[in-house]
């Protein structure tokens, strides 16, 4: 493997890994704060992609504006879904998971009926390549990495420095105590759901010009997101970042080295990690007492 190829694979792995980080961060937020195992998370990613496509291609808006509007729309929709569905099952992890599966089916079918089976593609607003010596990398991949880094920094700031972020962390630690301290837990749950799904929608919007958009695109990404949670630790944000990068790099180099066996390689890597760290790299093993 030459240095040029290594660099290309590294950038590819970093780009796809950062997208998984975004999606998994949203999933962790929804699970950790709102206590919902959201099986419809992939569909919010899909909705983000379609919304960006609609605003960019059909309404000819600027790409960043299209993504921004798409994210707001997905967040609002997620908030509505929480209010009219999950709110009534709050606290029951199993019931919420079942409801999210139903929501996933409805959203996928709705997209199929609304957008059809045809794969959609949109031209990339970031064309061209960046050349550093012999290494040539696509501008769009570098843009994806940069955008994801900026968003993750924003998320860190939200969680660590804002009132909402502190409230979310408090609710995550102990809901009852947070409520006693005056935190409106209902509002925090809804905002956590909206923010988490918005991250998925944002990932969909960012990735839309790179790949094709189909109603079923959420399934594969959801599976990878769960893998990120397992590798990184179920409720660890740091784990989500590391897990996403591990998954992205493994797939990128795996596809190059072993082709169609890359998925098996990925499961092998996850297995090895779990042998040494059963709760994930930054997670904890919960033992029943």
């Amino acid at each position: 493997m030459s240095g040029e190829v290594f660099a290309q694979l590294f950038v590819n792995g970093l780009a796809s890994g950062m997208v998984y980080v975004l999606i998994a961060s949203g999933l962790i937020l929804v699970l950790g704060v709102a206590r919902i195992f959201n099986f419809a998370h992939g569909e919010f990613y899909m909705l983000g992609a379609y919304a960006t496509f609609a605003f960019y291609q059909a309404l000819h808006l600027n790409f960043f504006l299209s993504v921004a509007i798409a994210v707001i729309a997905v967040a609002a929709f997620a908030g509505v879904c929480y209010r009219f569905a999950f709110h009534y099952m709050r606290g029951n992890l199993l019931l919420c998971a079942a409801a999210s599966m139903g929501l996933s089916m409805i959203l996928e079918r709705g997209a199929l009926l609304g957008f059809g089976t045809q794969e959609r593609g949109m031209p990339s607003p970031f064309t061209g390549t960046l050349a550093v010596g012999n290494v040539v990398v696509p501008v769009e991949k570098m843009t994806v990495i940069l955008l994801c880094v900026v968003v993750m920094c924003g998320l860190y700031y939200l969680l660590m420095s804002t009132k909402l972020g502190k409230a979310m962390r408090a609710v995550k630690l102990d809901t009852e105590v947070a409520a006693l301290q005056g935190v409106n837990t209902t509002k925090v749950y809804a905002l956590a759901m909206a923010t988490g799904c918005a991250l998925a929608g944002l990932a969909g919007g960012i990735i839309a010009p790179l790949y094709s958009i189909t109603p079923g695109m959420g399934h594969t990404v959801l599976l990878k997101s769960f893998m990120v949670l397992i590798v990184g630790g179920l409720e660890s944000m740091v784990g989500g970042v590391v897990g996403g990068l591990v998954i992205g790099m493994t797939l990128s180099f795996g596809h190059y080295l072993v082709g169609g066996l890359s998925e098996i390689l990925l499961f092998g890597v996850i297995g090895v990690i779990l042998v040494f760290k059963p709760g994930g790299l930054f997670g904890e093993v919960v033992e029943d007492v």
Partner: protein, 417 residues
């Protein structure tokens, strides 16, 4: 109160079950329009309606068949017969394909199945169709479709025989090419196409450096492209690729990886979908099939099919042209035998062959001695090719029917006529 609630639940359940039953009873498509005062011949088809090519083929058949019926249909022993084509979704999968074929044969009582596309559903339904003596004129790339054990099954698209003429053309366009890498889907069709194309390429003096497989639902081709580029081939070929967005993503990835050599494809790219994802530079120079409808001086049949399609849908798509030869072969076979008996038709086709006209040019049944089938079983047709120049597909040249058969005989051996 409880009784009222129970009755309401029972009512909703009954309504739900009725709707489900109605949905199951109604096929995806059944059209015998223009069939007033005529006998009807039920013919079946299974198409992957989850894919663009399946949807397009269904749309094309919804134009061709009713127009055919309105023009008088088939004349069978002096009587006019309309065709009632029943289409089910096979989802491009073996399980759904077999289920759809079984439904056509056992529920709808069809004796003829035409225009299927995917190898997986075709091969899965073969055993049922052969056992029930149902005439099947199918697409698909798998050699199992034209194996000597099949009495009632014929391969009527040119997926197995289009590669030798493609490479005949490729040697004209890329005369200095000596190495190639294939990028193929990791399924029955992809592997069949890659295996055949490897044989053809090597017969034409081009060394196959590697075959890189990808899952059908892959969207990120960066790593495969990096690997292909790393092998440094003169040309890249895409056996078994679908014609739409995914193909565009492959070319985009190859360009992003730094590949600037020749590109070859046996299919006609859907330019609108590909242009949406790949830049002009990424597509530049791709040698591919061009439909007869888009060449200078197309045939009258090609012109009329295009006009009828555009009249109904407002736009044109050539995606279905690869898969509708079976319809024209079917009509020609019935005319030749003056019979709808699958035994009579199959026997005549297998022993005497068949020639027919279709929108993509003239076609004929050929033998496959290389597959140990000495009966007429597979299809060759004249082939037109184009190259993408500055984002547009331009006509590059044509290979005649005789040259197509000759190139196949050269690669695979034996006498095909």
């Amino acid at each position: 109160m409880m009784r009222k609630k129970s009755l309401r639940c029972a009512g909703f359940l009954a309504l739900f079950l009725s709707l489900v039953g109605l949905g199951l009873a109604v096929p995806c498509g059944s059209f015998a329009q223009g069939a007033k005062d005529m006998d009807t011949l039920k013919v079946g088809s299974t198409l992957p309606l989850n894919l663009g090519m399946g949807v397009e083929t269904k749309k094309m058949l919804e134009v061709i068949v009713p127009n055919f019926n309105q023009a008088g249909g088939i004349t069978l022993k002096g009587k006019k017969v309309a065709v009632d084509l029943i289409i089910y979704d096979d989802k491009y999968s073996a399980e759904a394909g077999r289920a759809a074929v079984e439904r056509l044969i056992y529920q709808d009582k069809v004796r003829h199945i035409i225009c299927q596309i995917g190898s997986a559903p075709i091969v899965a339904g073969l055993s049922v169709a052969e056992q029930e003596k149902v005439l099947t004129l199918a697409g698909g790339a798998s050699a199992k479709i034209v194996s000597p054990g099949n009495k009632y099954t014929f391969g009527t698209s040119t997926t197995r025989t289009s590669i030798p003429p493609l490479w005949l053309m490729a040697k004209r366009v890329f005369p200095k090419a000596t190495t190639v890498v294939f990028i193929s889907p990791d399924d029955e069709t992809g592997k069949a196409r890659a295996a055949e194309e490897k044989k053809v390429a090597e017969a034409n003096g081009v060394k196959v450096l590697d075959v890189l497989y990808y899952a059908r639902d892959t969207v990120d081709f960066s790593s495969i492209a990096a690997r292909a580029k790393g092998l440094n081939p003169d040309v890249i070929s895409y056996p078994g690729a679908v014609a739409g967005t995914q193909f565009g993503l492959q070319m985009k990835a190859m360009h992003a990886a730094g590949f600037r050599g020749g590109q070859i494809s046996a299919i006609t790219p859907q330019m609108e979908e590909i242009s949406a994802v790949a830049s002009k530079e990424a597509m530049e120079g791709l040698l591919c099939k061009i439909p007869e409808t888009d060449i200078p001086n197309p045939s009258a049949l090609a012109v009329s099919v295009k006009q009828e399609y555009m009249k109904k849908y407002g736009t044109w798509s050539e995606a279905s042209l690869t898969w509708i030869p079976a319809w024209y072969a079917f009509i020609e076979a019935i005319k030749k035998t003056d019979s709808t008996d699958p035994d009579v038709i199959a026997n005549t086709m297998a022993t005497k062959g068949l020639q027919w006209d279709m929108p993509n040019g003239k076609a004929m049944l050929v033998k496959r001695p290389d597959l140990k089938n000495t009966q007429y079983t597979d299809t060759c047709s004249e082939q037109s090719y184009g190259q993408i120049k500055d984002g547009k597909l331009a006509f590059a040249g044509k290979v005649s029917l005789d040259d197509v058969v000759g190139s196949c005989e050269k690669v695979f051996g034996g006498a095909w006529k």
